[in-house]
């Protein structure tokens, strides 16, 4: 067991989990298709192939439960009758769920969850199949029907099967030699008895018990067969004998009484020379197994059936989406790419250090002829570095389709729960997005879709009353917009009732009535992202937007993205998640507030204006600036200047667009623009979400990257909370800013 091998195994397992996830997704996709086209043999074949691959992979990794379950499922799917089975899509869905649960359990190394629901379904399908070609079955009896159902022929299946077969039926499977012996005994005029001895396993000598009965029986007749066969490692409670004897059943039973060891003996006459059964001891399984030719023949007749199945297998199966993947795809651990990306980040920092040094050099030796050469080399390096960065970023990009593929199933399930017919229209699924962002928005989008189906879309009757088509439609769309990717979830439901949201927010004490009165419609809609409001059940019922909208918001904020909501009463609601293309590197604008260095993404800066303090006016607890013909609300990050001449104090205003809002950031000083490699800050290092990360400059200085959406939200919230206090000084430390303390804590949620 070298470590190399362990590593390889770990790697294989990773591949397994990843490809298994894909297989399950494919399984869901096919099941959805099958639901639309019930009985399509082609889809059933594809499903079977998916299950087949999963089985093989699981077996290779030694995951027995999964591979055996998949095996059973595959076998049932191979039955001729499988495609006709109406509940097949449901079985496939259940399979995807159960397999998924097992996978999760494997991954977390916890106990594998119950697979009973799926097993039951598989079993039902096998039964169903067994019932269709009925005529042969009756004659064939237990044994033959067993070999005809592939689902029960594997080792695992067999074990289960046997445990279901009543104990006494086991003797039906005479082997050839035993048949010979029985025939001979009957020819000699002996009677054939079935003796079932129930051995008390607590007696301390269960194996001896078997022997005792054996000895007793040998004394009065000839034992032709024993089940379980000799050599079984475990003591068995029930031991069966086939005994040829000329004594009566009562005599035999009496002989076998061994107090305390044998708790019960049942003796039945199987046959005598005339082939007649003793009516009092009739044994359910037929004696036909050895008296008639039929059994022997039937044993082989099923051969034709599996063969014809195999011919089906030759037919080409439809190429699934997996075929469209090129073969040269490498699966790489995301961590490795992140490592490369980190190094690229360091290189960029190195580049700015070099640039800095070069600038210093140029200042000191303005005439030196080396300057030009340095500059050329720097330019080349810069270009290469840009390409390198872009290439690495591209590695991290994956089409949003990876995520979108999950949703048809979700909509189907939620739709069923709510009794609504909802269609999903997906577009722009080939838009690329950073993998980590894609992973992060899975939950918010799931949530939005769930809400849209359960609350946004009205019931069919309501829709018809409103003159809409009874089936709801949800559009899931992804597209590029400027430097961002927008993922939009749009439903054609009833929309959000803004008035109710407002009333509710006031009732809940989130805003004061007068603050509420001043809110614009979009500001009201923003309230739904407030954690307090979202848990209010009544609102959920009325407006349809409820539990967990704050989660959507907080995820988006973490990603440096924004979420916008647009609603149209009676016509529907759209949520737009605006996401950065990537998390790791931004082009940033650097500025100073209170002598500290900050940065924001350059893409969000619409304009930079210079002005003086006296141009800033205070209206209704907020500072505004009239810029040309626009009135901009101001966000003051530092403190209000004091002193007599503060009115002439020069300031910069960064005009920011965040979502559909525009506002101005008041900053003290501009430092220029630069590419920044974002380093995450862990929660211990910083206690506010106003800062989303940090970066290191070429000269070693640390710069904080502002989280704009948090800033905006803070700013607007501080207005509801504390009228009379200006929303300023957000970026000050606790001591400097004590009156505004509570705001920050609120934002931590």
């Amino acid at each position: 067991m070298s470590t190399g091998r362990d590593e390889r195994m770990a790697e294989l397992r990773e591949i397994f989990f990843e490809s298994a996830q894909e297989l399950l997704q494919a399984l869901n996709d096919e099941a959805l298709k099958l639901e639309k086209e019930p009985g399509d043999a082609e889809i059933v074949r594809t499903i079977r192939r998916i299950v087949h691959t999963l089985k093989g992979d699981a077996a290779a990794c030694g995951y027995r439960e999964l591979s055996e379950l998949a095996h059973d499922m595959e076998d049932v799917l191979a039955l001729q009758t499988a495609s006709a089975h109406t509940s097949l899509p449901q079985v496939a869905f259940t399979a995807a769920d159960v397999f998924g649960a097992i996978l999760t359990a494997y991954r977390r190394r916890v106990k594998v969850p119950s697979t009973e629901p799926l097993r039951k379904m598989i079993h039902a399908m096998a039964e169903y199949a067994g019932n269709v070609p009925a005529p042969k079955k009756k004659l064939a009896g237990n044994k033959t029907s067993r070999s005809k159902t592939p689902a029960t022929r594997d080792s695992a299946g067999n074990r289960r099967e046997e445990s279901r077969v009543p104990a006494r039926a086991r003797l039906a499977a005479w082997n050839e030699y035993e048949k010979l012996a029985i025939q001979k005994a009957l020819r000699q005029g002996k009677k054939l008895y079935h003796v079932l001895a129930d051995i008390d396993l607590d007696c301390g000598m269960p194996i001896a018990g078997r022997q005792l009965v054996q000895v007793a029986l040998s004394a009065i007749g000839e034992i032709l067969a024993i089940r379980p066969e000799a050599g079984a490692s475990q003591a068995e409670r029930l031991v069966e004998f086939a005994v040829a004897s000329d004594q009566t059943a009562e005599q035999i039973a009496a002989r076998c009484q061994v107090p305390t060891v044998i708790s019960k003996v049942t003796v039945g006459l199987i046959a005598d020379a005339t082939g007649a059964k003793d009516p009092n001891f009739a044994i359910p399984h037929p004696i036909a197994t050895f008296t008639s030719e039929s059994a022997a023949k039937l044993e082989h007749s099923p051969a034709s059936q599996p063969l014809s199945e195999s011919e089906d297998d030759q037919q080409p199966t439809t190429p699934s989406h997996m075929a469209s993947l090129a073969d040269n795809i490498l699966r790489v651990d995301a961590e490795r790419i992140d490592n490369v990306l980190n190094l690229v980040g360091e290189l960029i920092i190195g580049k700015s250090m070099l640039q800095q040094t070069l600038n210093d050099f140029a200042k000191r030796f303005p005439k030196d002829h080396m300057r030009g050469k340095f500059a050329d080399a720097m330019a080349l390096q810069g270009r290469v570095l840009n390409d390198l960065q872009r290439s690495v970023m591209k590695i991290r990009m994956v089409p949003v389709e990876q995520l979108f593929r999950r949703f048809p199933r979700l909509i189907r399930d939620v739709g069923r729960q709510c009794g609504k017919q909802v269609e999903l229209v997906i577009s722009g699924q080939h838009t690329d997005l950073d993998k980590s962002i894609l992973d992060a928005i899975a939950e918010p989008i799931t949530h939005l879709i769930r809400n849209a189906v359960s609350h946004g879309i009205e019931s069919a009757e309501e829709r018809q009353r409103a003159g809409k088509s009874p089936n709801g439609t949800i559009r899931l769309q992804a597209y590029h917009q400027a430097n961002q990717v927008v993922v939009e979830v749009r439903d054609d439901g009833q929309g959000i009732n803004a008035e109710r949201v407002k009333t509710r927010a006031v009732e809940q004490g989130m805003i004061t009535a007068e603050a509420a009165a001043q809110l614009s419609e979009s500001e009201i809609l923003d309230l739904i992202f407030q954690p307090g409001l979202s848990t209010a059940e009544q609102i959920t019922e009325v407006s349809g937007r409820g539990v967990g909208m704050d989660v959507v918001q907080s995820v988006l904020r973490r990603l440096k993205g924004t979420v916008e909501v647009e609603t149209n009463p009676g016509r529907g609601t759209a949520f737009r998640l605006k996401l950065p293309l990537t998390l790791a590197i931004i082009k940033a604008l650097l500025f100073r507030v209170e002598h500290r260095l900050y940065a924001i993404a350059l893409s969000s800066v619409a304009e930079i204006a210079r002005t003086i303090e006296s141009e800033i006016h205070q209206v209704d607890n907020r500072e505004i600036l009239q810029l040309r013909n626009q009135v901009l609300p101001m966000v003051r990050l530092g403190r209000l200047p004091v002193g007599a001449d503060h009115g002439s104090h020069k300031i910069f205003v960064l005009v920011i667009t965040s979502g559909d809002k525009k506002f101005g950031l008041i900053v003290d000083q501009l430092e220029g623009e630069q590419e920044l490699v974002i380093k995450a800050l862990d929660d211990h290092a910083i206690s506010t979400d106003l800062v989303s990360g940090a970066s290191i400059m070429g000269d070693g200085r640390v710069v904080m990257i502002l989280n704009l959406s948090a800033v905006v939200e803070h700013f607007s919230r501080s207005r509801f909370k504390s009228s009379g206090v200006l929303g300023s000084g957000m970026l000050l430390s606790h001591e400097e800013r004590s009156p505004l303390g509570p705001i920050d804590r609120g934002a931590q949620a």
Binding site: R5, H52, A60, E74, L307, T317
Partner: protein, 371 residues
Amino acid sequence: MNDPTRVLVVDDSALMRKLIPQILASDDSIKVVGTAMDGTFGLKKIAELKPQVVTLDLEMPGLSGIDTLKEIMRRYRVPVIVVSSHSTQGASITLQALGLGAFDFVAKPQDVSARMPEIATQLITKIKAAAECNGSRMKPLPEDGRRAEKPSSVSTNAPTRVVAVGISTGGPNALQYMLSQLPGDFPGSIVVVQHMPDGFTDMFARRLDESCAIKVKEARSADLLLAGRVLICPGSRHIKVKRLPLGDVVVLTDDTRVHGHRPSADVLFKSVAEEFGSRGIAVLMTGMGDDGAEGMGYVKAAGGMTIAQSEDSCVVFGMPKAAIDRGYVVRIVSLDALANTLQAHCAPERGHDQRLESGGSGGRAAGAGRV
């Protein structure tokens, strides 16, 4: 010879495309030159990379494994090792693939972490053997739909002689060829050890039974040795013959592997020598390795007949050669002539062997009790 064997892996499972090369990486004389995720890609890559051996999954989207195999056999004649799954359909389709000219098959690797060495050895030896056979001797079986006429009733007769066959790589086709030439009233009883993983032999026996006049079934313990019947030993069990008061039977055991094999032809041959002595016939046919060679020595020593398949008719001339080299083989017979040879040796009028005669010079096991 110094150049490594070039292998192409065709499998739709990403895991397998990783795992199989990893397994093969343990042997320097094998080099995986590429992988392909379906048949169409596979064919393209064969043309491009010119592998010497292809491992092929049979269950793939698009061009199915069987169709891919047909194309490979038609256009490239590269030896193909089928990587086959453990299911009823898997067995059936695998045997079909062998009928179409696949060199051999291995079961899909299972529980790799625990059984790596075993899996690796098997796959590597098969690939090497495949590379050496250079494809010239593999021919697809003629696809005639001829269904053999079965005798109307199952014989209950004791056989004249007991024929024990040991066979491995190339076996399914050779065996089918030989057995299909035997009549339904063949007077001997045949027991076959075909090296084949668990789960395939049942289907194999069914297929043979379909295409042969002689009856074929997978052996179960205590099955009788009957004239005109072939018993195929199930995968991963040993098979022995045993004489009992009411009739002769086969016994299946789970004893340890013999020289890495279970079933092992050595085990079968030895028991045939012990139980049937001069009434025993041991036949070694195409296959890798030397299983059965030692056992043949016992059969010969006990006065039985020993036959080896000739080199020119073997896909792999390993097991017959091992027995020939040891001097245990009485007759070397080509595949075409094997059926006739067996009939001649089993014919009841031939000399002293009479039906139901319970003689036999071999040392019989004492106390023939119940099984």
